[in-house]
Symmetry: C2
Subunit: 219 residues, 2 copies
DNA sequence: TGTACATCAGTGAACGCGCGTTCACTGATGTAC
DNA sequence: TGTACATCAGTGAACGCGCGTTCACTGATGTAC
């Protein structure tokens, strides 16, 4: 067989793997990540429990793979939004759409951490990719609205504590802005997705838009 | 026995109930809410599993009770911070201390929701209590910094969509400010407690303080 | 083109585990006369 | 003060459940000569 070509068996394998993950996402959507059961997935696929071990070494590997896919999907969404030129508002609204499309996927990334679980290195690499996109956009936005590199005492702190942005040319004020985007947008989204806004009366989208406006303008 | 007086049996009962809850909190702290097991609690207390059914009708009642206590504790913390006159910064830093003191307790309130779980009415009443304190402080802060009742389009929306603040005299701008406090502070805290800041290099407390400064000033 | 062999997806039985929960029961603590 | 009775905390055995995971096996699919 020619190297690089995919044999029918290989194609079948990756197709079944994808189906397993699809069912896993359905389960997570309806019962949360802790409700994920290999046996239940197998039953839905019409196969026996042990059969899944042909495709995943166990429950942990499957979950890690789902988390990786969630991060990957967010990074791709971010990159696409940044490239399409919508600036910071475009990025923010893309993030909200991504979150609303599948709340449990959002929580898999930003929700309550499982004590003791540690993400593998390739996943932390994706988080850096995400932050890099955010930083790019914030640098552009900061250049538009005001020129100062350092505006307050926390900016000064950031000038000396920027391991997370190592290698990125963003000035302290842009770093600060990126952190504020990150915390503020996730503050809104985690409350909204967890249902804390239901019954309050206002339209969450408008609150989100108001916050984005403020981030895009001055800060 | 005189009505209202607590018999030795009653005192013993509530003491054991408290011990059960204490062990439950320990378990939650080390394994998350889903790792809570009645049998494991019983074993730690040196008693048999079924014995716990003298004190709680089942696992669900115990968890609901813990959630209620968490909300209660947050409401009391809020009330105390507001009464001590520290204003919005005082409230914010009290919230952060409360969150850091027991991250899993924080996540029980603001973390990933369990699909299908619905909090009983008396708990939603506590959330209104919490919002009322926040609103009080925001009204005072808004009066200090600027007089306008309505400043932007979202304020106008809030004027007509304020079920959550029914009965509270806060003007729209103060309502808006309260929502921003809520989302921004929780945005920072949920990321910090979930460990998303670790390894980034900066001091989370300084970022939090910078955000609080901005909330306390203009907005 | 046909045969011999290797690969590998999937099965069914079984293991051990811990879970929540029920039940009938024992024994100590408190109450009433 | 002493006895008879009721209350109730806690036990031990048992039930049924679903879980992740292992193992030896079957049967189909692909490969090599």
């Amino acid at each position: 067989m020619a190297a690089g070509a995919t044999s029918p068996r290989e194609r079948y394998r990756s197709q079944v793997r994808a189906e397993i993950k699809a069912r896993a996402w359905e389960q997570i959507a309806s019962a949360g990540a802790t409700g994920l059961s290999l046996n239940a997935i197998a039953k839905e696929l019409g196969m026996s429990g042990p059969a899944l071990y042909r495709y995943f070494s166990g429950r942990d590997e499957l979950i890690t793979e789902l988390i990786r896919d969630a991060y990957r999907s967010l990074a791709d969404t971010f990159r696409a939004a940044a490239d399409s030129g919508g600036g910071l508002p475009g990025l923010a609204h893309a993030l909200r759409r991504w979150a609303l499309a599948d709340p449990q996927r959002y929580f898999l990334v930003y929700g309550t951490p499982v004590p003791g679980y540690h993400a593998p290195d390739d996943i932390t690499a994706i988080t850096q990719e995400i932050m890099a996109v955010l930083l790019d956009v914030c640098v552009a936005a900061s250049a538009d609205t005001h020129g100062a590199d350092t505006r307050d005492t926390f900016d000064a702190h950031l000038a000396d504590h920027r391991q997370w942005a190592a290698g990125h040319p963003a000035p302290p004020a842009a770093l600060h802005r990126a952190l504020l985007c990150w915390t503020r947008l996730h503050g809104h989204l985690s409350l909204e997705l967890a249902g804390h806004f239901t019954g309050m009366g206002f339209d969450p989208e408008l609150l989100f838009a108001a916050e984005v406006d403020e981030l895009a303008g001055g800060r």
